[in-house]
Amino acid sequence: MNLFKTTGVNRGLMQIAIASLFFAASLTSHADETCMSPYMAKIVGQEDFVYVWTLGQENLGDEQDKLVTIDVNPASPKYGKVINSLSVGGRNEAHHSGFTDDRHYLWAGGLDSNKIFIFDVHTDPAKPTLYKTIDNFVKVSGGVVGPHTFYALAGKIMVTGLSNNADHGGRTAMVEYSNTGDYIATHWHPTDQDLRGAEKSGKFADGYGYDVRALPRRNAMFTSSFTGWTNYMMDFGTMLQDPEAMKRFGNTAIKWNLHTRKPEKIFDMPGAPLEIRCAWQPNHNYCFTTTALTSKIWLMYEDEQGEWQAKAVADIGDPSKVPLPVDISITSDDKGLWVQTFMDGKARYFDVSDPFNPKQTYEKEIGSQLNMISQSWDGKRAYFTSSLLNNWDKKGDQDQQFFKSYTWDGSKLNLEFEVDFKAEKLGSAHQMRFGAYGLYGMKRPYETKQAEVNSNASDTLLASKPE
């Protein structure tokens, strides 16, 4: 049964099995980066590439945004090397990216230019090409600015916005596209003027947006809230000293009905809740997020009455010093949560086996500044990058820009290799996504010893095939 014929995503390209959430039995034991959409085709085992969506820096190299491909397979002769760099033109404020559910295309957004670059990553996963650029996002969406998260739904991509073309503030919407790049709908975040049927459970309905994640088995979708163009584009130090600007941060998270795309409940979550990561285990009906300014871990969970609630469950570092937690990543067994704090450059591991009582059990300084993490499904490998936002990154010598590859043995992180993005004249390293030959039924172009990884590359694709 080919469930995805209806989505029209294959477009006559390679006939391969497409993974989906719906084969949940296999999914819970095999998949890749733990922050990916459950609708996504899965990598199991060793990833071959990490694609790094990189910001161009003025006076560095070609100064423009690019998709950088790093070979991360220890068996590869090019292991640890930058094997491709694809410049897209302009400093768009490259930020996040996400695959279509079939994993054929990588959508990557520019928070400033509002351009969306769609890369073909399946024809040659070692050498992505630019397939299409969407440059009318603001116009077709009815004024949404700052395409942020690209989250795969079945045959569709949900794009969260951060801002708008009227005041460059934080009120915004989610914009839904087909996998082929056709606009479908704009879903505005609820405001006091129009709650759109949602319950304002506390004092806030700010209309702000940031990340989106779904728990399809609960028919639930969650969004968080950051800030508008003016703040995310401006110099961070200047902003911290501007009392007006500091009032313009999101203080809400929203539970939506996944099917109807209607907001149902607005939670108060003061201090800019950013990344959302939902638990993977079938009986774990909860998601984590962290507030950047107030430095707390929040849990959104379904209570015994089936009602969704939100609760602050832990502090991150010393909140009074504003350590600025940014990216987070949940382990596939839902027992651990990596939390990166930008200001002190630390990766922090929280034991979240009891999601209501996270306990930090490990920390390590990765660099002078730190933002993103991507971990393998088995949790044994973790990759880190440095950049937060072009004008928020540290200045001068403290502006280290890197990609660092670590192994995690359960008690400590061990550095395997690093790429200095400034020395390589690439730019500021931001978000990472994994690629693999096996996803597309391809063989690796080199011999691999059985001891290291499975040589026929089938180790990368197991989770998707319906039995």
Binding site: L3, F22, A24, A25, E93, D112, S113, N136, V138, K139, G143, V145, A154, N165, A166, D167, H168, G169, R171, I184, A185, T186, W188, T191, D192, D194, K203, A205, D206, G207, W229, T230, M234, D235, F236, G237, T238, L240, D242, P243, E244, A245, M246, K247, R248, F249, N251, H259, K262, P270, G271, T291, L293, P319, K321, V322, M343, N391, D393, K394
Partner: protein
């Protein structure tokens, strides 16, 4: 196959949300404040009062009539250029003003900094942010009644609106167009402008007529007939209450505000169109920064962040020497042009650097006698105003909002914002 799979797929096949974007009824009420209301955000009991952007719609106003008819408290605008008031030119300028394509990367229009519902200024930050998030050193002022300034900008460096437009269009930290020709080409290649310049000017798009059109729109943003005007010039006794009248008396009397923010027999511009040193610029250039920065991280939550931490992620503020930067005369250090105080209730934060959030803070600044130093204007001295007098002055300043501002904002909401297609 799992049960949930068939359930969700079944639903996916019948998307109820598709094509949902419905046009909303135009707003009948215009709020003269950010749609993202942060009033009393400093308190723990802050509640949102946000507006939906889908309802940010409006009704076109008769701008030509506004530009050509006298308003209580304001003279008719006299122009020294040969850019005569014209309906088609105003309309063209209005379209250009809201067009985000007129910047290097198509993200910045004039209206992104001069935001209609925020008093055609920006209430949401102290100093403006432009192309690629670059800092500007000054607060974005209102362009309501900008027609009455003799010298434009806080240092009065520009002499007319026709020329002024090229400053933001070409400034690397504002709209960042690489050349005049680039702006012209952008307009020529946008099909929605086809024939509009020819129709309004009888000539194709040019440097001159871009400036003329934008100047025409800005000159139509005239806003008088405030409650103060109705009381003072219209002789309507009930237009101001006793506190506001007390404030007026202080303004022209004990507080000496009218020495610079002038009120005339027939009209009041609330500016002498001259440059003065109030000490605020001096303080910014010369004062040593504090070791800690108060940072508000959530409603009612403030934390003290070490200066070194703030500096690690920040660039130093650009110095601002005011008129001196134009004249290079050391006597002109920290002199700034007197701002008009019309519509002042709508244009926080205040002063050239947006340093004060509230009108009361500005009045307390004058009450202290500004910042004493060698070059301080002799017109600025300690005032010894009581708390009640400060309140009365502030109440008076709040009576200066023109009675057509809602109409001008609604008119602005009716414009289609220019974005790439």
């Amino acid at each position: 196959m799992a049960l949930s799979a068939s359930l969700i797929l079944g639903l996916e096949l019948a998307p109820t949300w598709a094509g949902e974007q419905t046009k909303k009824e135009p707003n009948t009420e215009i709020r003269l404040a950010p749609g993202d209301d942060k009033t009393s955000y400093e308190n723990t009991d802050y509640e949102t009062n946000s507006l939906s952007l889908e309802y940010r719609t409006g009704k076109a106003a008769g701008l030509y009539e506004i530009a050509t008819s006298p308003q209580l408290g304001l003279p008719l605008v006299s122009i020294s250029t040969n850019n005569r008031v014209d309906r088609a030119k105003i309309q063209l300028g209005r379209k250009l003003f809201f067009d985000r394509r007129l910047s290097r990367n198509k993200t910045m229009s004039c209206a992104m900094c001069h935001i209609p519902e925020q008093g055609f200024s920006n209430n949401e930050l102290q100093r403006a942010i432009g192309f690629e998030g670059r800092n500007l050193k000054r607060n974005a002022p209102t362009i309501l009644n900008v027609a009455y300034y003799q010298g434009l900008f806080a240092d009065a460096r520009e002499s007319n609106l026709e020329q002024q437009v090229w400053s933001p269009l070409l400034a690397p930290n504002e709209m960042n167009n690489p050349s005049i020709g680039y702006v012209i080409d952008t307009i020529v290649s946008s099909s929605d402008y086809s024939g509009l310049f020819e129709n309004a000017f009888g000539t194709p798009v040019s440097m001159q007529n871009i400036g003329d059109a934008l100047a025409q729109y800005q000159r139509s943003l005239i806003s008088g007939n405030s409650r103060f005007d109705q009381w003072f010039y219209g002789k309507e006794e009930s237009a101001l209450n006793t506190q506001e009248i007390e404030g007026f008396n202080l303004f022209v009397g004990k507080a000496k505000c009218a020495a610079c923010h002038q009120i005339g027999r027939d009209y009041a511009l609330f500016t002498d169109n001259k440059l003065h040193n109030t000490g605020i610029g001096y303080e910014n250039s010369m004062l040593k920064p504090s070791q800690y920065v108060s940072v508000q991280i959530a409603p009612g939550v403030v934390t003290q962040v070490a200066r070194s931490r703030v500096d690690s992620v920040g660039i130093p503020p650009e110095n601002d020497l005011g008129r001196y930067e134009i004249s290079l005369d050391p006597k002109d250090r920290w002199k700034f042009r007197t701002s008009s105080l019309r519509n002042i209730a709508l244009t926080a934060p205040y002063m050239h650097n947006g340093q004060f959030s509230e009108l009361e803070e500005v009045i307390e600044f004058y009450n202290r006698g500004g910042v004493a130093h060698e070059l301080l204007s002799p017109l600025i001295t300690p005032l010894i105003l009581s708390k009640d007098e400060v309140k009365a002055l502030s109440a008076f300043l709040r009576s200066l909002t023109g009675n057509n501002v809602e109409m001008l904002v609604s008119d602005a909401f009716a414009v289609t914002i220019g974005d790439s297609d």
